[in-house]
């Protein structure tokens, strides 16, 4: 009889022990996968969002840093204004490769068009833009015409409607961007020409007019020349232009990243505790089971089985339970998180994007390895003890 078959028989023979070990491993694996998915999901989302922005530096009016972050992160509309001349000044800074203006607007509160009560609208200049225009060229093969808009993945047309009605103006939604998990998903993008058109007609077509102050912009997105340190350019912008703050893109969402680090710390402590409690419990259960089966093991020894064979039998039994429990834990937590991802993101207040298949498989292997390690550590002492016991003494007892 081989080790594998003995282990399977032992698993079937002691259902309570097997179920206890299975549930402990399932719990640890599920918790590990759930916490990793949430933290990695948030990181993924931020990275995708920064990629979509495409800027090395964002220049905003002084004091608007936090507002800007929450606008990008959660899609909260903001009103920021600074003189248009700042664009010229930023462009002339040494090391700046491209600079493009953006204007931030918002829809009327509770407009029936929108995914949120107040939708964040970003107006860009198609001549200089490097954030949305490359996507448009790649996917549409052209830019936006007057009256055309594109939106994040949460922007949609109402059933039976052909146009998106904003400020009483019919906008043609010609495409939606890939999901990023952050506020960009609920943001509408349009050109300066379309925004001016909206502002022009809104006094007649909307309850409240859309106002765009003359010669004003909300922010400047900056791309630095290859090989140039964005921090040096940032310092230069701060020194030479008054009333503005440059935000380097790696420093964007700084407060949120800190919050996530805190959350990660809590998760690690909780995981550690769950790991220790599970390992102790599994060890205890295996010790009890091994004690009950000492005669059976002694018979095996008497029939010629080596101590290593006994040890391997017990370890294989534990390993099989670990793999089954680990796989079940990964499946349970990942399916739950996948199904309720939007709800979790909303409740936790974090952006979330499910990882790619490759990363997920890596996580799956890691969770199985963790399960196997937990069980191996827990059973090594009882398995060693029972494999080394004196057969004659055990049978005599």
């Amino acid at each position: 009889m081989n080790v594998f078959r003995i282990a399977l028989r032992n698993i079937r023979g002691n259902a309570v022990k097997s179920l206890t070990v299975f549930m402990c491993v399932l719990g640890v694996a599920a918790f590990f996968v759930a916490t990793t998915l949430i933290v990695r999901g948030a990181q993924n989302s931020l990275e995708r969002g920064l990629e979509r922005l495409g800027a090395d530096i964002l220049v905003v009016p002084t004091g608007a840093e936090n507002k800007m972050e929450s606008a990008i992160l959660m899609g909260t509309p903001i009103k920021l204004w600074m003189p248009k001349q700042n664009l010229e000044k930023v462009s002339q800074i040494e090391g700046v490769s491209q600079a493009t203006p953006q204007i931030y607007l918002q829809s009327l509160f509770g407009a029936p068009c929108c995914a949120v009560n107040e939708m964040f609208m970003v107006v860009f200049d198609p001549e200089t833009d490097f954030s949305v225009t490359p996507w448009l060229n790649q996917h549409m093969g052209r830019g936006l015409a007057k009256g055309e808009v594109i939106g994040g993945t949460h922007i949609f047309l109402l059933e039976g409607e052909e146009y998106l009605k904003l400020y009483g103006y019919n906008l043609d939604l010609i495409g939606t961007l890939e999901p990023t998990g952050i506020g960009i998903d609920a943001t509408l993008f349009m050109t300066m020409e379309t925004a001016q058109e909206l502002a022009k007609y809104s006094p007649q077509t909307a309850i409240l007019p859309l106002e765009i102050p003359k010669d004003s912009i909300s922010s400047v997105m900056v791309k630095v020349k290859p090989g140039v340190n964005p921090h040096a350019v940032s310092v230069q912008i701060e020194r030479e232009i008054g009333g503005v703050v440059p935000i380097e893109s790696p420093n964007l969402f700084g407060a949120f990243r800190q919050q996530m680090l805190g959350l990660l710390g809590v998760f690690i402590v909780m995981l550690g505790l769950a790991y220790i409690v599970s390992a102790v419990l599994i060890g205890l259960v295996f010790s009890m089971a091994a004690h009950e089966r000492r005669r059976e093991m002694a018979v095996l020894r008497a029939t010629g089985a080596t101590p290593f064979f006994i040890f391997r039998t017990l370890w294989t039994e534990a390993a099989l339970l670990a793999v089954a429990g680990g796989a079940a834990g990964v499946a349970l937590s990942s399916i739950t998180i996948y199904i309720f991802r939007d709800y979790l993101a909303g409740t936790l207040g974090t952006p979330f994007l499910f990882p790619s298949f490759g990363s997920f498989m890596g996580l799956f292997v890691l969770a199985l390895a963790l399960s196997l390690a937990t069980v191996s550590i827990a059973v090594v002492v009882p398995a060693y003890r029972i494999s080394r016991q004196e057969p004659a003494l055990a049978m005599k007892e």
Partner: protein, 139 residues
């Protein structure tokens, strides 16, 4: 085993009836305002009401499954369970549907919860069906 299945189906039926009460848009204070100023519930609310219509017979199926010992009865109850599980999925997924806005609670919480509960109901009923076909007469 069928007693366990019966109890689980009753629990799932209660969950199917209760979940929409806390997760539809009306429970979050969101309603449609008509041109005359009156308000009316959004369609996710009606999906929630329809789920009660699924939950009641499902609870009866679960209850009968715990009591029944005849193989044919268990088979028929399992078939009903599969159909009711399918309906529990179909109401939010297509027959009535939920709201269009992807960030609303009926889309993020109610629909996935109902689809999961419906899938569990159908899954358990399929297992019950297979087991009832294989089992000998219990009475």
């Amino acid at each position: 085993m069928f007693k366990v299945f019966g109890v689980v189906l009753v629990v799932l039926a209660i969950a199917l009836a209760v979940v929409p009460t806390f997760t539809d848009c009306q429970s979050q204070g969101k309603m449609i305002t008509l041109a005359n100023g009156k308000t009316t519930p959004m369609k996710c609310h009606w999906t929630g009401i329809a789920e009660i219509g699924v939950a009641v017979p499902l609870a009866v199926v679960g209850g009968m499954m715990t009591l029944s010992r005849r193989r044919n009865n268990l088979t028929n109850l399992s078939v009903l369970g599969v159909v009711l599980g399918g309906l529990a999925i179909a109401f939010p997924a297509g027959l009535i549907g939920v709201c269009q806005t992807p960030t609303m609670s009926c889309v993020t919480a109610m629909k996935p919860a109902l689809v999961s509960l419906g899938s569990l109901t159908a899954g358990i009923s399929v297992i019950g069906l297979v087991m009832s076909r294989k089992a000998k007469e219990l009475s």
